[in-house]
């Protein structure tokens, strides 16, 4: 009976060791950074990881990509605790819960491990700095710039298809757009209407069609919402208005690929998650090697993205701004899969 038990324990031990030894190759490079997404299997973060690996190659450091199975704060904290225990050289985290991660982030910093957040910020005390993908003004301004390019030198009528009339971020962007339109270079653009599709695919589609009827000489629809821009692209395609009405705004490559290629939406904007991952690793490297301490005003260089200055504001605390939003168009859209 005792012997049987011994066999059972041995059998289990063998299985476990198989599982463990198969997976447990730990890198022993000089600096090991970890990119922690909200969860695994998310193409957005997989793209960020591609950028992070590119930075790793340039800097000669190791970057591992580790996340929890679900986008859940409890699991993410468990993961971060095991990373602290391994004394990694730094982590870039997209937080599942900005508050719940603060105590763990503090622990890491106390253990001498630089922590930065990207994409979704950790509360100010739980990280050295946040890598901010975009600011309000730039997001509003770039959409007017794209619309102006699409309307051509002679300008024309443009309309905005937003999400809900109460969405604070949408309204803030629309305010910026209205301010931008007052600039002399946009004098020939005329904003004729702002309509709301409530981030509902069908309603957005119907609102876009109503715009075609109401303004037969409409030239551009700006949709600062991923639902609205895709629905507008489909509406233009279905109505046979390609080349006559152009759609632009904020969208994601996989959603918009079809409309970029058929000409309904030649260009749209959003930040590039690959650049976000790339910059995160450069920031971690600068922190870990002591080039910067994470104080506002310090400057550093992040490879192909150029020079950055650390800034500080009331909302985000100490942060680095990735830069202007990234414009996706026919030339580059096939490089992206998210």
């Amino acid at each position: 009976m005792k012997r049987r038990m011994l066999y059972m324990v041995l059998a289990l031990a063998m299985m476990l060791s198989l599982v463990l030894s198969g997976c447990g190759k730990k890198d022993t490079g000089p600096l090991t950074f970890v990119l922690v997404p909200k969860n695994l299997g998310n193409p957005y973060f997989d793209t960020a990881n591609n950028g992070a690996q590119e930075a790793a190659k340039e800097l000669g450091v190791t970057v591992t990509y580790q996340g929890s199975a679900a986008a859940d704060a409890t699991q993410q904290i468990q993961l971060i605790n095991s990373l602290i225990a391994q004394k990694v050289s730094g982590m870039a985290i997209s937080a599942n819960d900005s508050d719940a991660l603060v105590p763990t982030g503090k622990d890491a910093i106390k253990a001498g491990i630089p922590v930065v957040s990207f994409d979704s910020a950790i509360g100010k005390d739980g990280r050295v700095l946040h890598i901010n993908q975009a600011v309000l003004h730039d997001i509003g301004a770039i959409q007017i710039k794209m619309a102006s390019e699409l309307a051509g030198a002679d300008g024309g009528k443009i309309a905005i298809l937003s999400a809900t009339s109460t969405a604070p971020n949408q309204n803030a962007w629309i305010e910026v757009m209205k301010e931008e339109l007052k600039k002399p270079e946009y004098a020939k653009l005329e904003l004729v209407d702002v309509v709301y599709g409530d981030d509902d695919d069908t309603k957005s589609y119907n609102e876009a069609q109503a715009l075609f009827k109401k303004y037969p000489d409409l030239e551009v629809i700006i949709a600062p919402t991923t639902v609205g821009i895709a629905a507008s692209g489909r509406a233009v395609t279905d109505a046979g208005l390609i080349g006559k009405v152009f759609v632009t705004g904020l969208g994601t490559p996989n959603q918009m690929r079809e409309y970029v290629k058929n000409g309904a939406s030649p260009q749209f904007a959003l930040w590039n998650p690959g650049d976000l991952g790339y910059l995160s690793i450069h920031v971690l490297n600068a922190l870990a090697t002591g080039q910067i301490k994470g104080v506002a005003g310090e400057k550093f260089t992040a490879g192909r993205l150029g020079e950055y200055t650390i800034q500080e504001d009331a909302d985000l605390g100490v942060n680095v701004l990735l830069g202007l939003p990234f414009i996706y168009n026919g030339d580059n859209i096939d490089q992206f899969n998210w």
Partner: protein
């Protein structure tokens, strides 16, 4: 009625033994399954210490142990419920509701300790509702607690919406983040230890505990023998509600904040720990010692795999595999020992088919995800 605790020979005439004759020497109550768990824990510790220099480090172990204490606190009451043949799926939602209620009160300007007491009262009441529906209305516990699982989580969202309650005072966050003065032992671990001893004594040394096993083995017989079945059921579901609220306080203190999705999905980990610890999911058998050991086994295993940079999904596969083996192995052992009933041919083919399908699945899993999972 698969009983992981007694793989073979004379004691294996099933769980009735536990109900009718538990007065055995103390050590004998640690049947083979508990030793199996001890063995597994030793294997995990040995393997991990060999594979990672960071495993046997007091500070690291202290930090990681507080990661699964909320789970453990809820598991103690869950063991009671499962032993009676019931289940409480609402624990994690109840945790979320109570933590959110506390956060909501705190944000409204109520003193944190009063808010915490109110949350404990709410959780206890929520458990009482479960118990009343199960015992008095005679509804199946699975359905009742599935309903309150959705309901309690919904209340959490109604209270906090997409907001977070934050800014708890340090005296409160000590519950989840602090350590006992002068030691590395987290306060939450000490709290869990004390509660585990208490629950263990109730289960194995009192009449109430004896009744729990009796109800799990044969509820009708218990009723006719004068066991106050309904009252006992109400008591244990109410206790489970209280423990969920307590776990909510600990988790909110550890996070230093509350969002309505706090503790989402923990109920399944809680049930996994209890069943892996040898508590029979059909009721009637199990020990508190086994459940506590399996909690530490899961915690150490997860921590060890985390240190080796094994991704979350793979950790889930390993824990799931362990759970299935914990039910399968005693049966297989009984067959090989020859003293049990003979295996039918279908059963053998069934097991073989299962192993083949499972291996194929794991192979496919690694083949398709390996570049992403292991780096």
């Amino acid at each position: 009625m698969t009983v992981p605790s007694s793989p073979d020979d004379e004691t294996s005439s099933k769980s009735l033994i536990n109900a009718t004759a538990p007065p055995r020497p103390f050590l004998a109550r640690f049947q083979r399954w508990e030793w199996m768990l001890v063995g597994l824990i030793l294997v995990v510790v040995a393997l991990n210490s060999a594979l990672s220099p960071y495993f046997l480090n007091a500070l690291n172990l202290s930090r990681t142990s507080s990661d699964f204490m909320e789970m453990g606190i809820m598991m103690l009451a869950m063991v009671f419920i499962i032993i009676t043949g019931g289940i409480d799926l609402s624990v994690a939602s109840n945790l979320g509701m109570c933590a959110s209620f506390m956060g909501w009160l705190f944000m409204a300007g109520v003193n944190i300790w009063i808010a915490a007491l109110a949350a404990l009262a709410l959780g206890t009441f929520a458990g009482f509702v479960n118990g009343t529906l199960v015992a008095r209305m005679k509804l199946p516990p699975l359905v009742v607690t599935l309903g309150t699982y959705a309901f309690y989580r919904g209340v959490a969202y109604v209270l906090l919406g997409d907001q977070a309650a934050r800014g708890y005072p340090e005296a409160f966050t000590y519950i989840g983040q602090g350590r006992l003065p002068g030691t590395l032992i987290p306060f939450s671990v000490a709290l869990f230890g004390a509660l585990a001893v208490l629950f263990g004594l109730v289960l194995h040394k009192t009449t109430l505990g004896r009744y729990l096993f009796a109800i799990g083995n044969n509820e009708d017989a218990s009723v006719y023998s004068g066991v106050p079945v309904a009252r006992i059921k109400i008591i244990i579901y109410t206790v489970s509600g209280f423990m969920a609220a307590l776990a909510g306080l600990v988790l909110a203190a550890r996070f230093g904040s509350t969002r309505p999705d706090i503790g989402n999905g923990l109920e399944l980990s809680v049930i996994t720990a209890a069943v892996l610890g040898g508590v029979d999911i059909n009721g009637g058998a199990g020990t508190m010692g086994g459940a506590v050991l399996s909690l530490f086994l899961i915690g150490l295993l997860r921590f060890g795999m985390g240190l080796l940079n094994i991704q979350g999904q793979v950790q889930g596969v390993v824990i799931g595999l362990l759970l299935i083996l914990s039910i399968l192995l005693p049966n297989v052992a009984r067959t090989f020992s020859g003293s049990g009933r003979k295996l039918h041919r279908q059963t053998v083919w069934g097991i073989i088919a299962f192993v083949v399908v499972f291996t194929a699945f794991v192979a496919f899993f690694f083949w398709s995800r390996a570049p992403l999972l292991i780096k």
